[in-house]
Symmetry: C2
Subunit: 215 residues, 2 copies
C-alpha cells in the first residue's frame, strides 16, 4: 500500500520505518522538499522509502499518518492540502503538547481537542485518533511489553476505524484495541498526556503502557 | 482514629462506612447540621458514626477526607474552616467535573488543578490527592479487581504522603501505590477523568482500573 507519513521526528521515523519493513511504499512528508532528516531516513530504508513535501506525501498516500508535533499539526495539514486528504483515512498520532512548560500543558483541551480540530478542518477526511497515548517504540512494538495493554481509537467513521483496527492489529501487533467512540473522545486520550508525563518520571522503564483491569 | 469525611454522596458514604468498619470514629460533614443522608448513614453504621457540619467534621477529625463534589469543594472547605484543617492531612478524592456536559468537562485543568487550588487556599494543611482516578467501590475494595492495579498519590508533604500510602495499603488494601510527585501532578490525575468516562462507556464491567505494564 502507498502510505504518507507526515513528520520527520522520532514518531514519524519509527512508524515510517515499520511500514517500509512491512513492505509498503512510504513517503515521508515535511515542510521542505528535501528535509535532511527525511533524506537520511529514505537513504537508510531503501527504495521503498521516499520523501517530499507535506503535499507530496499526502497526495502519494492512500492512507496518511499525522506524526507532526501537535502544535504544528494544523499548519502541516493545511500545507498537505484538503484535496490531497479528501476521502482518505488520516491516522492522527499527535498530541497538542507544550513541552516548554513543566508540567507539560496542552494547547487545546477540555472542550475541544486536536483530533476534533483536524476533523473540522477536513470534513471530507476520515480522521482516526490513535497511538498518541504511548511512547513511540511501544506504538509499533506493543509485544515488547510483558503483558497485553490497551490502545484506543477515536473517530466518526466506523469503516475507517475498522481499517485502523486492522492496521494496529495486523501490522503493528496490537491485541487489545478499544474503540472509545466518536472524535470527541480524542479529548480524553489527549488529556491523558499530563498523567503519562508523571508516569514516565515515576517509572524506571521507558517502555510502558496501561492495561485495563476489571472485576 | 478520629476521621472527618466531608460529603454525603456515594464516595463520602463508601469511604466513611469503610472507616467505621475498620474501627475508627467517623464524622460525616455536610452543609447542614443534620443532612438527611448523613443522619441515615450514622443511624445505619452505629455509635462510631457521627454527623455534623463541614466545620464540625473538620474539627473532629485528625485526618480529613474531601469527598465533596469537585465544583463545590472549595466552598465546602471554606465552610470547614482553615483553623479546623490546620496542620492536618486532607485527603482529596474529588474531581472538578461538570457532568452536565457530554463528554464531561473539567471546571479547572491544564495550568491548574483542584488539588492545587485547595493547597493554595489552605497552605497550613497537607493536601494529598488520591483515589480520584477510580470508581468509589474500587477505592476501598481494590482487591475485587482480578489483578493488582495502580492508585496514585500527589502532594507536597513527604510525611503526609507516607501516611496516606499507609492508609491506602493497610486500611483499603491497595498494593500498587505510585507517588507521582508534588501537588501539581493533581493535574494529570484530574485530567484522566475524560478518558475514564470513555472507558466506563466502553467497558462492560462497572469496576475497573488501570495497571501500568512495562517491558
Amino acid at each position: 500500500m502507498k502510505i504518507g507519513v507526515l513528520g520527520t521526528g522520532v514518531t514519524g521515523q519509527t512508524i515510517a520505518s515499520k511500514l517500509v519493513q512491512l513492505g509498503h511504499d512510504v513517503m515521508m512528508g515535511s515542510r521542505d522538499e528535501a528535509n535532511p532528516k527525511a533524506v537520511a531516513w529514505a537513504k537508510e530504508e531503501g527504495h521503498n522509502a521516499l520523501y517530499g513535501t507535506f503535499m507530496n506525501a499526502a497526495s502519494f498516500g492512500e492512507i496518511i499518518f499525522n506524526c507532526t508535533l501537535g502544535p504544528a499539526s494544523l499548519d502541516a495539514l493545511r500545507m498537505a492540502g484538503a484535496e490531497n486528504l479528501k476521502g482518505k483515512i488520516l491516522i492522527d498520532t499527535s498530541n497538542p503538547l507544550n513541552k516548554a512548560t513543566d508540567p507539560w500543558t496542552l494547547t487545546v483541551c477540555n472542550t475541544d481537542s486536536l483530533g476534533e480540530q483536524i476533523q473540522r478542518m477536513f470534513p471530507d477526511t476520515k480522521v482516526v485518533k490513535t497511538l498518541n497515548t504511548v511512547n513511540t517504540n511501544v506504538m509499533v512494538e506493543p509485544t515488547k511489553l510483558i503483558e497485553r495493554t490497551q490502545v484506543f481509537v477515536s473517530g466518526n467513521d466506523i469503516e475507517a476505524k475498522a481499517t485502523v483496527v486492522m492496521i494496529l492489529r495486523d501490522w503493528f501487533g496490537w491485541r487489545e484495541i478499544l474503540d472509545l467512540g466518536d472524535i470527541t473522545t480524542s479529548r480524553g486520550v489527549e488529556m491523558f498526556l499530563p498523567l503519562w508525563q508523571s508516569l514516565r518520571k515515576a517509572i524506571p522503564e521507558q517502555r510502558f503502557n496501561i492495561k485495563i483491569v476489571s472485576s
